[in-house]
């Protein structure tokens, strides 16, 4: 039977030599959830994600992935449970989209095994599911930011896992691509995938989340349903600006109440 809890974080502390980043984080991610991590720059969102992926080690506290603590997993085993979609960055080597997507299969192979025909099939299928199969032979470096993000999502699908972690998935994308990517995330969530994503935008958290976790100065200060957590007072406390929350057609939007502007 599948466990309900995918990730459990207990009293997690992390600090750099000069300043502490996380101070006692308690957090869990359950199967089927779409959790948005919201918070200002430097609040520790990305650090928490890197800790969950075992890219850095906590100084105190523990992280459980399903029924084992994280330090009992190798990176290869983690990659069989969680797919990470980083913010796209440019690589000096211009791989084709298909080559890029097939790299998601590496954890499935034996140490010396070469990618097989099946891996290529899975890669094509993943590209089809994201709707970008036509890009397969294009050089990754020549794509637009939105297309690159879609390719990384397709690569995550080839890992054949149920949990996706995304770091600022819409950063650097134009408005249309931001919305298209959010729609893609909600489509995948409806197919049963679990998501943990960081975001800078309260609106995006309101649009695509089953739960919102707000972080500030290395602590979790709110955790719950999007409409309950994202309030004017939370925005004031965390971002230091005034904002109104407006409900229109059953959806809630966050609108800054600043009257300044140029007309």
């Amino acid at each position: 039977m599948e466990l309900k809890n995918i990730i459990t974080v207990n009293d997690l502390h992390f600090s750099y030599p000069k300043h502490s980043v996380l101070n006692g984080i308690v957090f869990n991610l359950n199967r089927g959830e779409v959790v948005s991590l919201l918070g200002p720059n430097g609040c520790g969102k990305s650090t928490l994600i890197r800790l969950i992926l075992k890219l850095i080690q906590p100084h105190q506290g523990e992280i459980w992935l399903e029924n084992k603590t994280l330090h009992r997993y190798s990176h290869r085993e983690i990659a069989k449970h969680i797919a990470y979609i980083p913010q796209y960055n440019n690589v000096p080597f211009n791989y084709s989209v298909l080559e890029m997507v097939m790299m998601g299969r590496v954890a499935k192979h034996g140490f010396f095994a070469a990618p097989s025909v099946k891996d290529a099939e899975v890669a094509h299928e993943s590209l089809r599911r994201i709707g970008i199969d036509d890009l397969a032979s294009r050089p990754f470096g020549h794509l637009s930011g939105g297309q690159k993000q879609m390719v990384l999502l397709a690569r995550a699908l080839t890992q054949e896992v149920n949990t996706f972690i995304m770091d600022e998935p819409v950063s650097g994308l134009d408005y249309g691509n931001q919305i298209r990517l959010l729609e893609l995330i909600s489509d995948l969530a409806n197919q049963g995938y679990t998501f943990l994503k960081t975001t800078h935008y309260p609106d995006h958290a309101l649009m695509v989340s089953s739960r919102v976790v707000v972080m500030n100065e290395g602590r979790i200060i709110a955790n719950g349903l999007p409409e309950e957590v994202i309030t004017s007072s939370m925005i004031r406390e965390v971002y230091g600006i005034e904002a109104d929350l407006i409900t229109h057609n059953t959806r809630t939007w966050c609108i800054p109440s600043s009257t300044k502007g140029i007309r």
Partner: protein, 295 residues
């Protein structure tokens, strides 16, 4: 009488082909393949297409070791043993410095360690040159540093061919991981790669292959930098093609360069000088084309 003369001719031919030409051809193939593959592996590991096999100081260290050997001993095997040893010592120093200045084990710190280690052993090489006998040892060191494929005998070449071929095959076996390493350490780890292990193996194999190439033929530059570039332009960056093709084309390149070095002028041009003279214009052309590909 006549039979004896024929026998002498055959013996002479046998000597020329087996003892002089064959080891030289084999060396060119082995060293060309080793340097090109090591260069391609390091370019992936350091996520930088401008990296060459000497980035961690192996060539500087091995050169120092060889010069030290020439200073201390007349025996050729001492020179070779010290060249091999100090190739590894220099890389060890680079890795230690890289780990000392930062515990994050980032490749930037490793490059920094390599720069420091390379400079250190280049300086130590200068010390050896300064104290060496200017009439016998110094010219030997200087000539040796220009690179030459004439020093190997068949027995020695066959002996080093085993570890060299094994390192090349090892790097070919790791080639799928080089694709992932070139995305950066964190992304490679998140996709399930044991980055420290792959990086350790790559450094070990490339250092083994490169230091043996210095042991057998002195300094031969540019092969490790330009050959992977040319292959990447022709077939793309995927290391599953790039690494084995670098081995083949590197071998052919050095074999051709050696043939030119023997035949172009009435005196033989040292192979290290020739690869630089060919390598620099080729590299300028490659850079001009590569700029478009990177952007």
């Amino acid at each position: 009488m006549l039979g004896g003369a024929e026998n002498d001719t055959y013996t002479l031919l046998d000597n020329i082909i087996l003892q002089i030409r064959l080891p030289r051809v084999l060396l060119a193939i082995l060293i060309g393949a080793s340097l090109a593959v090591s260069g391609a592996a390091f370019q992936a590991m350091f996520v930088n297409p401008l990296v060459s096999p000497g980035i961690l100081g192996v060539l500087a260290g091995a050169s120092f070791g060889a010069a030290l050997g020439m200073l201390l001993s007349e025996q050729w095997y001492v020179v070779q043993a010290l060249a091999f040893l100090f190739g590894f010592v220099a890389v060890g120093v680079a890795v230690l410095i890289g780990g000392m200045v930062s515990n994050s084990r980032s490749t930037i710190m490793l490059v920094l360690g390599g720069v420091i280690s390379g400079s250190l052993f280049t300086a130590l090489l200068s010390v050896i040159k300064y104290v060496a006998d200017p009439y016998s040892t110094l010219p030997a060191i200087v000539y040796w540093l220009m690179g030459s494929l004439t020093m190997g005998d068949l027995h020695g070449v066959l002996l080093v061919s085993i570890p060299m071929i094994l390192s090349i095959l090892g790097m070919i076996a790791l080639s799928k991981y080089f694709d992932l390493l070139s995305l950066g350490d964190e992304e490679a780890k998140a996709l399930g790669v044991n980055v420290p292990l792959i990086r350790f193996l790559a450094i070990l194999l490339a250092t083994l292959a490169s230091s043996l190439s210095v042991v057998m033929a002195g300094m031969i530059g540019w092969v490790g930098l330009i050959i992977p570039h040319i292959i990447r332009m022709a077939v793309g960056p995927s290391h599953r093609l790039l690494i084995p093709l670098s081995a083949i084309v590197g071998a052919i390149f050095l074999l051709l360069a050696d043939t030119i070095s023997r035949l172009a002028l009435s005196v033989e041009i040292p192979i290290g000088i020739l690869t630089s003279l060919i390598g620099i214009p080729v590299f300028i052309i490659v850079l001009k084309n590569a700029r478009a590909a990177w952007n």
